[in-house]
Symmetry: D5
Subunit: 96 residues, 10 copies
């Protein structure tokens, strides 16, 4: 099942710079691992903001929840989740 997720990051105020860079590296590593597994299908940055639009391909909402809450940045992110369906006008194989 596909979910559209809008992630808004609020970087932790007062966190020391090294700790934050470590967190960022961990987030990136985890994101790429999920992409390689095919779970995190798309990831686009929103211009001018510390936000992204993502598409996840998971078994169900529970798997999605486990993935999102395990992200190193989760405590600093606000997520908006939207359940997607295949659109009858789409001709792309990978829109399902």
């Amino acid at each position: 099942m596909l979910f559209h997720v809008h992630m808004v990051v609020s970087p932790p105020q007062g966190m020391d710079k090294d700790a934050f860079e470590k967190l960022r590296a961990a987030e990136k590593a985890r994101a790429q691992e999920l992409m390689k597994q095919g779970k995190w299908r798309h990831l686009w940055r929103i211009a001018g903001k510390y936000e992204n639009f993502s598409v996840f391909d998971v078994k169900d909402a529970s798997e999605l929840h486990d993935i999102l809450t395990s992200l190193p940045f989760f405590p600093f992110m606000k997520m908006d989740v939207t359940a997607l369906c295949r659109h009858p006008s789409s001709i792309r194989d990978d829109d399902t």
Copy 2:
């Protein structure tokens, strides 16, 4: 350049059924033509709503505007456009 577009359809009230079905067919044909050209990259339906999330791949904002305003459903849609960038964590070739 990639743009994320959230389309919300408000079907024309009082339009006769045949006219509406014709319009719908024209919208679908035009959408598929744009997908074949690679301009309309993704199209997902939002569960429970007459809305979709789409991703367009165009030269610039003017090409996007011309495409969106030429859609048969344009007079009955509200569009929210967001400019996208490649995300440094993405490993997918087609997220650019």
Copy 3:
């Protein structure tokens, strides 16, 4: 999979009374059919409003979309869909 749906009804203005009562009866019949099938798990009215909170148990977002858009009242309803997960604190069998 469980989905929480908030339905807001805007009764069609200017529809004649008999036609509306027929529509209402059709909506009720369809709702009860879906409850008997176990798809429409819960249905509660919101006090003072023409609105309800519902819980659906479906295979995925596509089945939910098909069910919701097939309701006789669909053209007169605004839907807000939220994907649910089992809560680790719940002890009720039927909260999954």
Copy 4:
């Protein structure tokens, strides 16, 4: 009487980890006690968020208020309360 409650948790910033885990355990224990008593009828997690939708079965608004404000997490939660009625289309015994 049934009430629908939407709970949004904002975990206390700067609380030490052990203290937070204790609080979480106390919240879970209290929630399960209320479920066993039949007061807390349903509890579903909202995918991707530290939020839940719940249904309470209580004598009146005062009992609901006492229950909600006695939760260990209450100081860190925002609650939206909606009074529910039996829906005339529901065929489920436990929707009352």
Copy 5:
């Protein structure tokens, strides 16, 4: 049980004047009947608006719903319902 209700009236556009005056008289008669029964406890007009704040004293949310939806103006009103509790600081007998 007490409920606070905020009623916002949108007078029916295009209704003929006599029909509207009849409706208004029926609304007033019904309101006063409910006040005499002690169900509609308070009714205040909001300055400069076609709106009111009311307090109802009813058995439960279902009785409230039946009362509100039976008002002659119901199809032209938006209602916001809030469940009230006795406040521990109140010394007034009739705030319960």
Copy 6:
């Protein structure tokens, strides 16, 4: 003149418990004094929230302002004030 006031309390973060209990006792004492004087006409708690709906009977907006800003909790409250009029449908003596 009557005013409807919606008060939302945000308890002071990090205030020590005894200081807060003293503040709460002072707030309650002041509220009851104002009720005895007939200035604070009604006070109802909103179920599930640290909020109340109140009705004040004062000479004018200045007296209301002096009363509200003199409350011990004032620095921790957000107030929404609405000027009320007698409703022509009310039959209650004390709705003026």
Copy 7:
């Protein structure tokens, strides 16, 4: 007592032009009569909008309500009413 009123005009759609000009003239005449009486203290247009900010000097909220609802444009206006107090920093005699 002083009240600040924000008036937003939505000119009646489909009203014939002469009828509208008559209504406009009646509104202007009534407004000037109220200004001469000193009830309508200030009237400023908001640049680029069919809206104004006004200040009324009336006995109480009921007199304000009667004045506002008697305006010829009332059925086509949305009003936001705010109760004002003399500001302790003001040195102008007519700010009371």
Copy 8:
């Protein structure tokens, strides 16, 4: 030129009481100086809130900006600025 300004004060948290009283005195002195110069035309307190509605008479937006940002309270205020025009229905000399 006239501007309507809605000022919302958020008193600085944690500032010591004497420092705050000094700031308040400086704000009052500056406000009265601007009133004597005729720049700050009106100042009204909003009942129940730490907010005011003001009207300024300045040469242009730059003079307004310089005045507002030079107020001792500026770092603790949110301003909403609205450009005003003389209203054709006003008969007051000082509404220009």
Copy 9:
């Protein structure tokens, strides 16, 4: 003085096509006349919407109001007006 104006067009529903094209031509002619006079300094279309961002250079808010309300499309537009100042960091001559 410079003003930033956000214009949102809602094309008149049900207007016949020729009448609308005439209106559109009149709007364009008037806009270009104002640009030649240097009053309408900038005009940009917002991608995907029937909206624009504009900058006007006028004597004061009254001249702006007269210009905006004289536009052929005015009855079908919602305007948001923001007063601008020269920015101390700008090095462009024409940002004043």
Copy 10:
């Protein structure tokens, strides 16, 4: 490509005054460098606020993102980005 950016500055609370002035000087220097390069086309202050409206002329959304996130004030700003198109009614050469 042109982008309209609305920047809202929230000056860092508790930063020492010298550090803030240094940051401000760096922001100004960087802004002027970008203006000289023709990337930051327009910059206007919003009267009464620590906000500006800007227009950028960049190759694409990625260049815009790199520019905005490299601003010394970026961690203290909220940005709203809108993609612009040439307006068919514009006669100005530099509106493209």
